[in-house]
Subunit: 222 residues, 2 copies
């Protein structure tokens, strides 16, 4: 095998990275359930992908399986976490402690995946200074003073759409590397940053598209 672990020599597609994350969440459950070994075929049946796709996705990063046997669940889980960078902990700052922000603070899944919300910011004077889950809420005006980009490299924005662009620019100047925001809005992304958007209306509209345009039915009957 060519040495794929030293350098990423090939652009890996975003679809592959997303699937690796999906394999990882399933492997965590399988390990808890006591499964020791899994074949690409069995994992494919669970995920609804093809076994070739799983083997191909993994092959970009090395060969982790054993011919005739399959993959060791614990070892594969560890290797995918290494690839995704989640073998180490990630400290996160959360901006916006409304309903969505509070939901994220209490999201059980984060802990098991190495994500830790460490600092809280809001612009609501009633919240500033309060302790939530043991963390003091800072004023968003104090962002530049309170964030330590050496420790915290990720930010989650649970704020209204009109505030997202300016905060991304401030976070970029501070040195934050990655941002996830939930507002239904397009933003301009600084080149030194990676920004993702999770937009529930986009998800719902893919549902309504497929329901409205069932492949075998006319779209606009005449």
């Amino acid at each position: 095998m060519k040495d794929k672990t030293t350098f990423i020599r090939q652009k890996i597609s975003d679809s592959t990275i997303r699937r690796l994350s999906i394999y990882l969440r399933t492997l965590i459950i399988l390990e808890k359930g006591g499964t020791v070994t899994i074949s690409s075929r069995k994992l494919a049946d669970i995920e609804g992908f093809t076994s070739a796709q799983i083997r191909k996705d993994l092959s970009y990063f090395g060969s982790f399986g054993r011919r005739g046997l399959g993959y060791n669940v614990k070892a594969l889980k560890k290797r995918i976490a290494e690839i995704l960078g989640t073998n180490k902990k990630w400290d996160i700052i959360l901006i916006g402690i409304g309903r969505l922000g509070s939901a994220l603070m209490n999201y059980e899944e984060f802990k098991g995946r190495g994500f830790h919300i460490k600092k809280l910011f809001d612009k609501n004077p009633e919240l500033i200074g309060k302790k939530i889950n043991g963390i003091t809420v800072n004023s968003v005006d104090q962002l530049e003073k309170k964030v330590n980009p050496k420790r915290e490299s990720l930010a989650i924005l649970a704020i209204p759409p009109q505030d997202v662009q300016s905060l991304i620019e401030r976070l970029n100047l501070i040195g934050i590397k990655g941002v996830l925001y939930f507002a239904s809005r397009t933003v301009t992304v600084p080149k030194s940053m990676i920004v993702r958007n999770e937009d529930t209306t986009v998800e719902l509209e893919t549902l309504t598209y497929h329901i409205t345009n069932r492949t075998d039915r006319p779209v606009k009957p005449m």
Copy 2:
């Protein structure tokens, strides 16, 4: 032009559908801001796509622009909403009225996009019978009795991972067509349903992957 409005004769990729939804959210803002006409080039600059991509995406469904001029914002917005099926209203049932569920109930964006949360379900006895935003919370045990799949064709599940699979099966039997769930878990999807998963850990892990594996840096220096 071949008549593309009568039947969908070609499989449209999910990426195209997602981009249409993204164009739509921008067109809504542009229209509010008073923009009458937009070229594929200007829209591309806003979205960070290429103009050819935008024209190609639209061309699958017809020709909505005017050569030399561009697209009428209001007309294009209307046509994309028709394609996505959001020119008509969609009634949604929401299961799980915790922090995330409450955030979704108060999500301003839904109203302007034709999404209306009409029925609420939870398994917490303290919530059942209470009115939230004018809607009574039902017991999830009453799902089959209270849901009218003629009216409500979409469900949003804001519930713990272990409850998602069984609810998808119950919703399928009731006749719900589309489901969006947020839990970090793979589920088996009945063929007659469309199910989407929005998993924040997947989004965060694409961030950590890119930060960890910056294309020009060694991944595992030796």
